[in-house]
């Protein structure tokens, strides 16, 4: 547990609702540089919305998010969003990579084109640089030789690894994963998880919304347990399994263990 001043991700009193339904009811936590954080909890607890807020894919209603030096802040009742807010959100997205449950690869582009598109368009990298990087990243996620395939020609696990490489190509400071293995055949889950473990060893900061309790226990530095739009418990990985602080956490984990 470290102080807020050292953290790379800093969230305070984050609130978000859809219509009249509050989904996040004041969430706050910090993540240290290089940590792998798992967020677990029952369906509908708001963990995916939390992740999407961190990437500004959803706009927070109020609260504060600071990631890698970019701060998105909004006070309650502030309805109008100025262009400065949108600029900050755009800035934030460039420092955060995101991997989706359904991969969301671009089906009309080869794996190589999928990875190089954002560097070419957003960072305006020269093509040779972007392609060299892409090939290196493909090597890293175990997909060397797949550069010219189309997404539809790859297995689910391969597609998700390609999606990770695509996110990494933008050199993010933090990687977010929204249930990255939920759409996968159980046989293919491990190849994705091992890529994430490899990144953890390299010092990447990662936040994973997951149902893989086993992975959460084995790989996480800390685990956040959420229920009904609130963080119930933040614990070190051993602690939460052996000695959960909250009764609700115990009940949830009991179903898995």
């Amino acid at each position: 547990m470290s102080g807020a001043e050292n953290s790379i991700v800093h969230v305070r009193d984050l609130r978000k609702g859809f219509g009249d339904t509050p989904v996040l009811k004041g969430v706050g936590f910090d993540v240290d540089q290089g940590d792998l954080i798992s967020i677990i909890g029952p369906s509908g607890c708001g963990k995916s919305t939390l992740l999407r807020c961190l990437n500004a894919l959803e706009t927070l209603d109020s609260g504060e998010i600071r990631i890698a030096g970019v701060t998105l802040k909004r006070s309650e009742g502030e309805r109008k969003l100025d262009s400065h807010f949108h600029e900050l959100a755009h800035e934030l997205r460039q420092r955060v990579g995101m991997v989706f449950q359904q991969f969301n690869l671009f089906p009309n582009k080869t794996i190589l084109e999928n990875i190089t598109l954002a560097p070419l368009v957003v960072k305006e990298e020269p093509r040779e640089v972007a392609e060299e990087n892409a090939l290196r990243l493909l090597e890293k996620v175990g997909l060397g030789g797949f550069a010219n395939r189309f997404p539809a020609q790859l297995s689910g696990g391969q597609q998700q690894r390609a999606a990770i490489a695509r996110a990494l190509a933008m050199s993010p400071k933090v990687m977010l994963y929204d249930e990255p293995t939920s759409a996968l055949d159980p046989m293919l889950v491990d190849e994705v998880l091992s890529v994430m473990k490899g990144l953890d060893n390299d010092g990447m900061t990662q936040i994973v919304v997951t149902h893989e309790i086993r992975f959460a226990r084995d790989a996480s530095d800390r685990i956040i347990y959420m229920e009904q739009g609130e963080i119930v418990e933040i614990s070190d990985e051993d602690e939460i399994f052996t000695n959960p602080k909250d009764e609700r956490t115990r009940r949830f984990l009991h179903k898995f263990l």
């Binding site: 990437n55 894919l57 755009h90 997205r93 460039q94 955060v96 990579g97 995101m98 989706f100 359904q102 969301n104 690869l105 671009f106 089906p107 009309n108 598109l117 954002a118 368009v121 957003v122 960072k123 395939r149 189309f150 997404p151 539809a152 020609q153 790859l154 297995s155 391969q158 695509r166 996110a167 933008m170």
Partner: protein, 534 residues
């Protein structure tokens, strides 16, 4: 016509070469620029034509398709007819050069208001209603309505005897009015007299039409006969815009000279139209001054039928008409499709992604344009807009009418395409740091493009066929060529097959191109070519 076609291909290539580097706005702008660059020379040509009126030609209009013996194209595709000779004589007496301008029958009078030409001579009957709209010259021909029936039909002495019968005639004629006023007669109006006469004995009991038409079209047909007395009295006059009373005086003076000199009698005699009625009106003798050589030539041509070789030989004569029509059809279809694609794309983006008022504007445009008939839009653009001071060259009017109309359909195609792309694609693009615009341009639109290719190809084929409506704004496209040739050769069957084949041939390359593009862009196909390795 050749130059713009060249400039179109060269500037169209640029966006295709480097789609990645060129912004979509740039592509749209270049499309619009190409279209504009095509319009400007045409508009300025139209303006120039007005300036070079130093020679001051007498611009006269007629609907010359199926219009013997008034003014029509003969078998050698040369303009002729007794009205053609009369207006030429009048122009000569006025010291002006006659200049013919083609228009459709329905468009003749509106064209005067648009100042497309100075006068109309096309067998127009002088009536009090029409005299409200235009000024008429003194009559240059006086005649009556002639009833024609199948040979062997009992004689008919009054129109009342036609009670319960279906009788054919032409649209907007005095004969039609007479039939409508006779109780229990079922009038059926045709746009080509030859078709009406051909229907006698099957769809029609008889046909009531002006004597010259009956003489020329029904006279040579052995299975038909003239019956009954002359019905009514019709006077043909030259129509002029109400804002040019001085022109009417000049025309009347010239006409009087032609009557006095016997010139008119000569013309009508050669055409076999010098009747006692005319002799009386001109206060001259009833004997024709010359043999009816023109009539005989026409009748001989009508009897000419022959085999396939004769048919094919005849098409050869018309080859220039067909070719010009085909080029016009192709030109106007391709250009209006480009306009429709550019504008439709803009409208789709406005409707799907625009903020409230902008998206409403796009929706309104689409509903308005899609919900009204294309023909009305064309007529409105060509004949209606001059009322508020916007005069367009026929080609420009046709191009705008088709392009603006199809833009609405294209917009809906593109909207469907854009909405069919899963939300996750845009989210992935934004998560990678792209702006909304970049996501659209590099991720969503390229995928939507492939999706909408089949419906867009479909629309192009549909537009190619709808382009036949531009004949309503005086253009002679492939369909115009069909009407002209069929009415001159009396061969709707063979000419129809020929023209239909040409429409097919024009459309085919575009269908193939779209098919090729589609298979090239298909990711599924490439997937099946290389087997995945898991």
């Amino acid at each position: 016509m050749k130059e713009p076609a060249g400039s179109f291909t060269s500037s169209f290539k640029i966006p295709l070469k480097s789609p990645f580097k060129m912004k979509p706005q740039t592509f749209l702008l270049s499309c619009l620029a190409v279209i504009l660059s095509l319009l400007i020379p045409r508009v300025s040509v139209a303006a120039e034509a007005k300036d070079t009126n130093a020679k001051f030609p007498l611009r006269w209009a007629a609907a010359v398709d199926s219009n013997a013996p008034f003014a029509f194209y003969d078998k050698n595709n040369r303009l002729t007819g007794f009205e053609y000779e009369i207006i030429a004589g009048i122009a000569r007496h006025m010291g002006r050069e006659p200049k013919f301008i083609q228009n459709s029958w329905e468009g003749l009078i509106p064209g005067l208001g648009r100042d497309l030409y100075d006068c109309v001579i096309c067998g127009i009957e002088i009536t009090s209603e029409k005299a409200q709209e235009v000024l008429f010259s003194d009559p240059y021909y006086i005649t009556f309505e002639q009833l024609v029936v199948a040979k062997g039909t009992p004689p008919i002495n009054s129109l009342a005897e036609l009670s319960g019968r279906t009788v054919g005639t032409l649209e907007q004629t005095a004969a039609l009015k007479m039939l409508e006023q006779t109780p229990n007669v079922i009038p059926k109006s045709y746009s080509e007299e030859i078709n009406a006469y051909k229907d006698i004995g099957s769809r029609l009991y008889g046909v009531l039409l002006d004597y010259p038409i009956a003489k020329y079209y029904a006279g040579p047909m052995p299975e038909l006969e003239f019956t009954g007395p002359p019905f009514g009295k019709i006077s043909y006059g030259i129509a002029v815009s109400r804002s040019h009373p001085e022109l009417i005086q000049q025309i009347n003076a010239a006409l009087a000279k032609m009557v006095a000199s016997g010139e008119l009698r000569d013309i009508l005699s050669r055409w076999g139209l010098w009747t006692p009625t005319m002799a009386e009106a001109c206060k001259q003798t009833a004997e024709p001054s010359l043999p009816d050589t023109e009539y005989r030539a026409f009748a001989a041509q009508m009897e000419l039928h022959g085999g396939i070789v004769a048919h094919l030989k005849r098409y050869l004569v018309y080859w220039p008409v067909i070719l010009r029509g085909a080029i016009l059809t192709l030109e106007i279809s391709v250009l209006s499709m480009l306009l429709a694609i550019a504008l439709g794309f803009l409208l789709a983006l406005m409707r799907v992604y625009g903020p409230f008022p902008i998206s409403q504007v796009a929706t309104l445009y689409i509903e308005l344009v899609r919900g009204t008939p294309l023909l009305i839009q064309l007529l409105f653009i060509f004949y209606g807009l001059p009322n508020i001071g916007i005069r367009l060259d026929p080609f420009v009017a046709g191009l705008l009418g088709l392009g603006l109309n199809y833009a609405a359909y294209e917009a809906e195609n593109y909207r469907a395409g854009l909405l069919a792309i899963p939300k996750g694609q845009m989210e992935a693009a934004r998560a990678l740091g792209m702006t909304h615009h970049q996501g659209l341009r590099y991720v969503v639109i390229p995928q939507a493009f492939r999706l909408v290719l089949p419906p867009v190809t479909n629309d192009f084929i549909s537009l190619l066929k709808d382009s036949s409506l531009v004949s309503a704004v005086t253009l002679i496209d492939l369909t115009g060529a069909y009407t002209r040739i069929a009415t001159q050769t009396f061969d709707y069957f063979g000419t129809g097959l020929l023209i239909a084949a040409i429409y097919l041939l024009i459309g085919l390359p575009f269908v193939r191109l779209a098919g090729w593009l589609e298979s090239r862009l298909s990711t599924d196909k490439r997937a099946s070519e290389q087997k995945p390795s898991f």
